[in-house]
């Protein structure tokens, strides 16, 4: 005799190992359960006549349990393979569960529907690429972070970048863009200091005579060095940075700047007379060459290399300005 009631009473009130109670309800973990809920009518243990659909590797099987085989647990469940076609599977269910209670038939068909939908979705997803989340153990993450810190400290980035750039400059990769002739520049500098002594008197005149400064330019030693800075000043005032237009102003103000610079240098290098004579001699030669170059460049190259010169002028302007600042600081 099958005592479904007794079984249910025992299971329900004492303990069922398949029951999972969560806040939304009681669920049954038994693989043969049709609905998945722990119910008197859905419990496969408490019903001697039961039917389910289970899936194995994408193939659906209808499982049935009858009271006649209740004493043979080994052969309890009868299995029928269901076809792929949904409608045909429904017909087969109908045929097998013909005189069974409506509840079971209905629930079985519902389960079949759900499972076919799931099967379709799983197949579609398997075709698409899914991102797989790989986890790294925490220890490794920390180790990597530590090593990265140390590597960053070991790589003194700023210095190495600067070193690399300087190497490239020395190799000449940049060509003449920077126009940094260190030796020439030094000589010119020294030259300037001495010339400052001579021209100191002209300082005040130069300040006043802006317009006529153009003539004085031709006597200057290295116009290129001082060509730009004046514009800087005027441009700062006017917010107008168009060097190309300001050539005249340049040359004029140049004189002004140059003189001041010379005076400043003179102040600083009063004590140094030894190096004075030599640069002077060299200076004269250089001066002629530079002046000629300047003229040629201005005539022929003006249009084409305008921007090029601008750069030079810019940094010369900067030099000029700096020196003027030195001067100011020195005086105060």
């Amino acid at each position: 005799m099958q005592h479904d009631e007794v079984i249910w009473q025992v299971i329900r009130h004492n303990h069922c190992s398949f029951m999972a109670k969560i806040e939304t309800g009681k669920f049954c973990r038994n693989p043969y359960n049709v609905t998945g809920i722990c119910n008197r009518s859905s419990c496969p243990l408490a019903n001697s006549r039961y039917a389910t659909i289970r899936d194995h590797d994408g193939v659906f099987y209808l499982y049935m349990k009858t009271i006649e085989r209740a004493h043979q647990p080994n052969q309890l469940w009868e299995r029928v393979k269901l076809p792929r076609n949904y409608e045909k599977a429904l017909e087969i269910i109908d045929k097998n569960l013909m005189y069974w209670p409506k509840f079971l038939v209905h629930k079985t068909k519902q389960r079949l529907t759900k499972m076919t939908q799931m099967r379709i979705r799983m197949r579609k997803l398997a075709l698409k690429t899914r991102e797989k989340i790989m986890t790294t153990p925490r220890k490794e993450k920390k180790r990597e972070a530590r090593r990265e810190e140390k590597a960053e400290k070991a790589a003194v980035l700023d210095k190495s970048i600067e070193k690399e750039l300087l190497e490239r400059l020395k190799k000449g990769v940049y060509g003449d863009i920077y126009n940094y002739p260190a030796d020439k520049y030094n000589e010119i500098l020294d030259k300037e200091q001495l010339a400052a002594d001579d021209i100191e008197e002209d300082e005040e005149e130069a300040e006043i005579e802006f317009v006529e400064g153009y003539d004085d330019l031709e006597e200057e030693e290295d116009i290129e060095d001082f060509g730009g800075l004046a514009v800087n000043k005027s441009s700062l005032d006017d917010d107008d940075v168009g060097l190309d237009d300001n050539d005249d102003e340049e040359t004029v103000a140049v004189d002004h700047k140059r003189v001041r610079r010379e005076s400043s240098l003179a102040l600083r290098k009063l004590g140094n007379d030894e190096g004075g004579t030599k640069p002077k001699k060299k200076a004269r030669v250089l001066v002629e060459i530079l002046m000629e170059d300047r003229r040629q460049s201005t005539e022929s190259v003006r249009g084409v290399f305008a921007s090029f010169r601008d750069c030079e002028q810019v940094h010369r302007q900067s030099q000029e300005f700096l020196l003027s600042l030195i001067d100011r600081v020195a005086t105060c």
């Binding site: 590597a151 790589a155 810019v314």
Partner: protein, 304 residues
């Protein structure tokens, strides 16, 4: 007596490139980048993200767009990466960069060369956006100069060429933009600078003049003059101390040329996770190099 550093005591690696290695040059000619690096086809980069975008992702991508010239951003949608690769090939892109985010932070970078370029998967970390850098500068549109430091081994050389193929091969020096990929102990540090070399006279007026100079430079911003090499006359030691002695000794003025760098653009570090021979294909692809945890056992062994 040089102090012992990890770089000094690095485990000898037989794959380190030597400057006179013919095989290396032959390999370079035959590899996928040679067409870009030599014949000067302009690189065209496609930047995209992983499927789910996050907060920092778009900011990082916009900065990448400004760093790498001729790069375009396309939204990901839900296209397969392989489909994206085909699409890019049709549209004549030379590489694809995929920025992958994890937990709302850009996490990984996938650089795929086209047409059959190698796929390099990098782990991204320590991302600092431009707005978070103090005194940052703004990059211009000039083609930047590339600095690739310390890519010693064959693998490193290959990765270096992959990175090189992202940028056009004709840098505009006047723009004074430098993009640096510095490899140190298998970490590739990315920096983006504007260089300012200056010519200077005084050395004790250094700091004062520095500030004046930067103000000047800003006034000249339209020149986009970011490079100035500084020649610093450094008198032997402290200027004040030496002045007394200067009367006797001739002024020892050494001219040093220094570059001053202004950081602009993001900074981040990359670590190579895997390098695959063809385009992106995790299942069927041939991996040239894969990082395994067992490679981390020795502290002095590096692969790049």
């Amino acid at each position: 007596m040089t102090p012992r550093t990890i770089e000094n005591t690095r485990e000898p690696d037989e794959t380190v490139c030597r400057p006179d290695d013919d095989e290396l040059f032959a390999g370079n000619d035959a590899d996928e980048f040679s067409s870009i690096l030599k014949q000067g086809c302009a690189p065209k980069i496609l930047i995209t993200t992983c499927r789910f975008n996050s907060s920092r992702g778009p900011a990082f991508i916009s900065e990448l767009l400004s760093v790498i010239p001729n790069s375009h951003y396309y939204k990901r949608g839900t296209y397969d990466l392989k489909k994206i690769i085909e699409y890019a090939k049709k549209k004549d892109f030379t590489s694809i960069i995929v920025v992958h985010t994890n937990r709302r932070e850009p996490d990984a970078l996938l650089i795929i060369g086209l047409p059959d370029g190698p796929t390099a998967h990098f782990k991204l970390s320590k991302l600092v956006l431009r707005k978070d850098i103090k005194n940052h500068g703004n990059p211009t549109g000039h083609i930047p100069e590339l600095v690739l430091n310390n890519f010693a081994t064959r693998l490193g050389h290959r990765v270096g060429r992959l990175i090189q193929s992202l940028f056009p091969q004709s840098p505009e020096f006047r723009g004074r933009r430098v993009v640096t990929f510095h490899n140190q102990r298998d970490f590739i540090f990315f920096r983006h600078h504007r260089c300012v070399p200056l010519e200077f006279i005084s050395c004790y007026m250094w700091t004062i003049l520095c500030s004046y100079l930067t103000s000047i430079m800003k006034a000249f911003c339209y020149y986009e003059c970011r490079y100035i090499f500084e020649t610093k006359e450094s008198k032997g030691s402290d200027a004040n101390g030496k002045k007394a002695k200067d009367a006797k000794s001739e002024k020892t003025s050494q001219q040093k040329v220094i570059t001053r760098l202004q950081e602009c653009g993001p900074r981040f570090t990359l670590k190579l996770v895997s390098l695959q021979h063809g385009t992106f294909d995790t299942k069927g692809g041939e991996f040239e190099w894969v990082h395994k945890p067992e490679m981390d056992t020795s502290r002095r062994r590096f692969f790049l």
